[in-house]
Point group: C2
Chain length 337, copies 2
């Protein structure tokens, strides 16, 4: 059986381009005992993957040149040589970006998205939802009446993080890159105010949106936005640092424009903490329950931007950095059987 | 009765100079009921005071132009119109920089420095000692076998912070500005290794001194040193941010060269937290006990650099920024009676 796979052809310098990726067809081996054959339904593209395209050591190994990318995938079992999962089951796993994968049965798990589309296992009920939950609730810890600012607020993580802060009784301000996104987060998600960072006077917009200062800043972007945020942080404020998307596509030699935070850290006694979703593995159940209940009770709204076809993965990935997506950026590769 | 006082004559732009301060003689009023007349013995000069010389709002009010500076003082009661303290008592307080002060009796407290010189109430058993304790033990939380780096390691705070980390079982590396200080912290204080930031190859020196990376970085200085530290931070490392002395004397328009920390925060899931000693007021007793026992049992060594005479305060203050002092920088104004 043949499958297309998406390879890293060349490490990008800056934003990935047509030299970065290559699609190749490869033989997929039959599943042996304890293995399953999987048909990819959805592929998740996520900003952190950009880091793996470089050769710098980080918390995950770099992708290898000439080897397929890998990431979050929802797939259907089309052949099983194991007790679990069974043929027909919809599963989630961290898998090579291929249309078909042979994988160890215990490397995937059945998705439990209730009445939701199984893609939710890659968005609100998956890594982005959990990331939003832990960063906001375990590090940000918003309290009734506090002001919470979320950057990349209409993104996969931001959309959930902001709603969780709302539910905790905070006043929530979202930073977004377009009017469409501003409308989405206020009208659909219930954010209290928005700041459009591509418009003029970011600092003034932010001051106007945060008359009582900022108690929690959920950081997804870094760069100039951070510089506008820091002077407004209140005493004992918290900054969960989830991402720094503004710096992920720096070219060799380009300086990181992350904020110079030192003086504000002391003045306002800020706690700034980087985290990964995996750091909170022992709390997954707690988070999953909150997220699943929120969605099923209609208190947690989420959006997905779904590109179509295996070929669309590079475009969908780059779209993360150009503000293409509202909510979780996904690629639908096939329909379940 | 007349007393000299040290005024802020003009807000400094950069390092204070001869335009910044002025000494004037003023009448000191007699103590009324509930007041005491105090003779200043020791004046504490501390880097944070530089912030109060600017007109920017911060966690303490700016000094007023034409008014005396104020800060930590150890004084002797020479007249008391209160039950406590009594004439002859040695007290500590936050007081105007004058040779004599009339103050409310309840604004000062008797110092308890056991067999130590009363100046210890401004160093190891005062604000710097407490600051070292809380930053290291409540935020840094060094563990057996971890690597701890302390910047400004021979300073008032650094000398204590490093020894506390040693006592917790950590390997302790101190960053200092001279060979004399390097010898002091290794031979007298028992630090395991030193890095001299004024020598070449700070990054290489630091890598050599920290072969297993860094688990706690006690930050006193900021600037280029921070940039060398951040790539070496281990997963789940902690950075208590006590000071950023490299940026305190920036001139108007000069850019803060604090470290660009964002990418490292996420990669290594660092917790970076600014703090002030006052944030831990409810733990003062605990800290004081540890520090006092450490000193009396000979496990906590400390040094003071003592300038002589009221006139010496400006010079002593500026010396904080030019690496003048080993241990706590103080000015001895008078001997007790």
């Amino acid at each position: 059986m043949k499958s297309r796979q998406l390879l890293l052809k060349e490490r990008p310098n800056g934003l990935p381009d047509e030299q970065t990726f290559e699609i190749r067809e490869e033989e997929v081996k039959s599943p042996e005992k304890g293995e399953v054959l999987l048909k990819t339904l959805y592929v998740s593209v996520d900003p952190y993957m950009r880091g793996r395209m470089s050769d710098q050591k980080s918390y995950v190994e770099p992708f290898q040149v000439g080897e397929p990318l890998e990431g979050g995938i929802v797939a259907q079992v089309i052949k099983s040589n194991a007790d679990y999962p069974q043929k027909g089951d919809i599963v989630r796993g961290n898998l090579p970006f291929q249309e078909y994968n042979t994988a160890k049965a215990d490397s995937v798990s059945k998705v439990n998205t209730h009445e939701l589309n199984p893609s939710a296992a890659l968005s609100v009920l998956g890594m982005p939802g959990l990331t939003a939950y832990f960063g906001m609730m375990h590090i940000g810890e918003p309290k009734e009446g506090e002001t919470v600012v979320v950057s990349a607020a209409a993104g996969a993580v931001g959309q959930i993080a902001g709603q969780l802060a709302k539910q905790a009784g905070a006043r929530v301000v979202g930073i977004v890159g377009s009017e469409e996104k501003a409308i989405y987060i206020t009208e659909r998600l219930g954010f209290d105010a928005t700041v459009e960072y591509k418009k003029e006077n970011l600092k003034v917009q932010l001051q106007d949106a945060c008359p009582d200062g900022i108690d929690v800043y959920y950081e997804n972007v870094g760069g100039e936005i951070g510089d506008a945020i820091w002077p407004l942080l209140n005493t004992f404020s918290r900054v969960p640092v989830c991402g720094a998307i503004s710096s992920y596509n720096l070219k060799k030699g380009e300086a990181d424009i992350g904020p110079r935070v030192q003086q504000f850290l002391i003045k306002s006694r800020v706690k700034m903490q980087g985290f990964l979703v995996g750091d909170f593995a022992k709390h997954y159940k707690e988070a999953y329950k909150v997220l699943a209940e929120g969605v099923s009770e209609g208190n947690l709204v989420y959006e997905e931007t779904v590109h179509k076809g295996f070929d669309a993965i590079p475009k969908a990935f780059n779209g993360l950095f150009t503000g293409d997506n509202i909510g979780k950026q996904l690629v639908k590769v096939a329909a379940p059987e």
